[in-house]
Amino acid sequence: MQTAFRMENLASGYEQVRVFEGLNLTIEEGKVTTIIGPNGCGKSTLLKTIGRILKKQQGTVYLQDQNMQNLSTKDIAKKLAILSQTPIAPGQLKVEELIAYGRYPHRNNVNRLTNKDEEMIEWALNVTNTMEYRNRELAQLSGGQRQRVWLAMALAQETNILLLDEPTTYLDMAHQLEVLEIVKNLNEQHRCTIVMVLHDINHAARYSDHLIAMRQGAVMKTGTPEEILCADVMRNVFNINARIMQDPVTKTPVCYGYDVMKETDK
């Protein structure tokens, strides 16, 4: 199995604040891997660091066995796309124009789109079900529609690896699943490697092959959803007493209820 990412002794953070250090981790190619953990555990920081949006402070990241330090930012952009949590764009921008931005790393002539560019934009519109409002301005879209358009932009980048930072934030329940279904489809149909950060552990369990559970800048445990969604791990990672069963329909573990751990439980 080839690896999408391999981190060696990785440290990162903001300004003087170290969020994590000494991290060793591999992420497999062709799989959906989700990072979970409580607020401030460093899951977004980790995603941004391997997506080179945030400068690492120490260590090495290998992207498909190549040291990322030796790759130009444009070459990296052909291999991985990263979608940040709440991206912003001017409201007057048309859906299609924004998606065309995703073609940047592949373009030689900056003023004209090639046939290949057009093709990829069409494909991205199709996959994300955004075809019907391709000519609308971003300001006219709802939150769910806008999120899918951003996803389409990342797809137009034509990369094998997709990093998503809480792609379901601020969406209602139906729209959350819609986005995750697109992600699942990308992985299954197009062999896309997905690494994402999710807040909802049930979504994480249902849509991922692998989970990485983090707490206070440390990886507590990695494994399949079944290995992570168990009382022990939930207690260590989230400080909760979780009640877990198997969803009879999806056959994935679900946390159907929980209580915050009391001092006496520790």
Binding site: Y14, E15, K48, G51, R52, I53, K55, S72, T73, K74, D75, I76, A77, K78, A81, I82, L83, S84, P87, I88, A89, P90, Q92, L93, Y101, G102, Y104, P105, V110, N111, A154, Q157
Partner: protein, 333 residues
């Protein structure tokens, strides 16, 4: 379409500028002089030595400031950014005043012997502008990343710092130099001549072309930095290059016209209202608007209080301040 209307406007303003003044001329007089039919030395003098260079300078300065404004608003992602507010004007201005102070250059009596020193002025202006830019940049830098809020705040501080330096130096000059410096600092082009045109034109063409070619990048700069990085754009590097280019444009302008504010603020806004947010259209249109505005403002400055003149920088400020306040109020809503 927009471009042709703007060209018409520029021609209209130039026409008004050419025919009106202390010495009124008719269209026929001008056409005859320009086409060399019955040349008249008096008309020749007025048109070729006084009015035409002045119009050309106004147009060039307008183009430079219009483009610099687009670049600065683009890379700072702030619609209120303007070379004047960021202190680049003041930096270039201070350098030129220092130059005037030490070389005792009388701007008013530019003859062939001072060609060299006049050619030096844009270079001094550029050094000053670049110095201001480097200062602003270092103070605004936070963890190797340019913080736009800080950029504007430091810009304001640098602006008043360099302004004070210019004032201090100009007060130490002798009366004649002081007058020249004071008029120049207010932003004026009434002493325009072809030498100034020659000094700024190469800078303007070179940097203008570069900035136009890079204008597509400004489209991407409308997104957040995370998104731009993800697309494979070397954000800090490109931002630095564009910032330097706009410093170059502004310095070339400031060295011949003194500090003219608000053109770099207004022109890009009007351009965006006209042609939308694609920068390869915004850039040239903003340049033309800058030129049109400045020729027109200079015409007003020249005629309203004739025979005495109002510096074009002051006219622009009179129009610009209400517009700036309007933008502030609008952006709050």
């Amino acid at each position: 379409m927009t471009v042709s209307i703007l060209m018409l406007f520029i021609f209209g303003a130039s026409y008004l500028h050419l025919t009106n003044g202390v010495f009124d001329m008719t269209v026929m007089d001008i056409l005859k002089t320009l086409l060399r039919i019955e040349p008249n030395p008096k008309f020749d003098l007025v048109i070729f030595e006084f009015r035409l260079p002045r119009i050309v300078i106004a147009a060039l300065v307008g183009v430079g400031l219009g483009m610099a404004g687009v670049v600065l608003q683009g890379i700072t992602r702030n619609g209120l950014a303007d070379p004047g507010i960021l202190g680049i004007n003041a930096g270039a201005g201070a350098a030129v005043v220092i130059f005037m102070f030490f070389f005792q250059l009388h701007l008013t009596s530019a003859d062939m012997s001072s060609w060299l020193s006049i050619l030096m002025m844009p270079i001094f202006g550029f050094v000053g502008g670049a110095m201001a830019a480097v200062l602003i940049y270092t103070f605004a830098l936070k963890n190797g990343h340019l913080d736009m809020q800080r950029l504007i705040l430091t810009g304001i501080a640098i602006n008043s710092g360099f302004g004070a330096l210019s004032l201090f130096l100009s007060l130490k000059m002798n009366a004649q130099d002081y007058e020249a410096a004071a008029v120049w600092m207010a932003g004026s082009i009434y002493n325009a001549n072809w030498i100034f045109v020659v000094t700024m034109l190469p800078w303007l063409i070179l940097i203008g072309f570069y900035v136009y070619r890079k204008s597509y990048l400004l489209d991407y700069f409308q997104l957040e930095e995370d998104s731009i990085t993800s697309l494979g754009i070397a954000v800090e590097k490109e931002k630095m290059k564009l910032l330097l280019a706009s410093v170059g444009l502004v310095s070339a302008c400031v060295s011949v016209s003194g500090s003219i504010g608000f053109i770099g603020l207004m022109a890009p806004h009007i351009a965006k209202q006209l042609v939308g947010i694609q920068h390869r259209y915004v850039m040239p249109v903003s340049a033309l608007i800058g030129a049109a505005l400045l020729i027109f403002a200079d015409f007003i400055g020249k005629t309203v209080f004739a025979p005495s003149e109002l510096a074009v920088g002051i006219v622009v400020s009179i129009i610009g301040i209400p517009y700036f306040l309007y933008l502030l109020v609008k952006s709050k809503a």
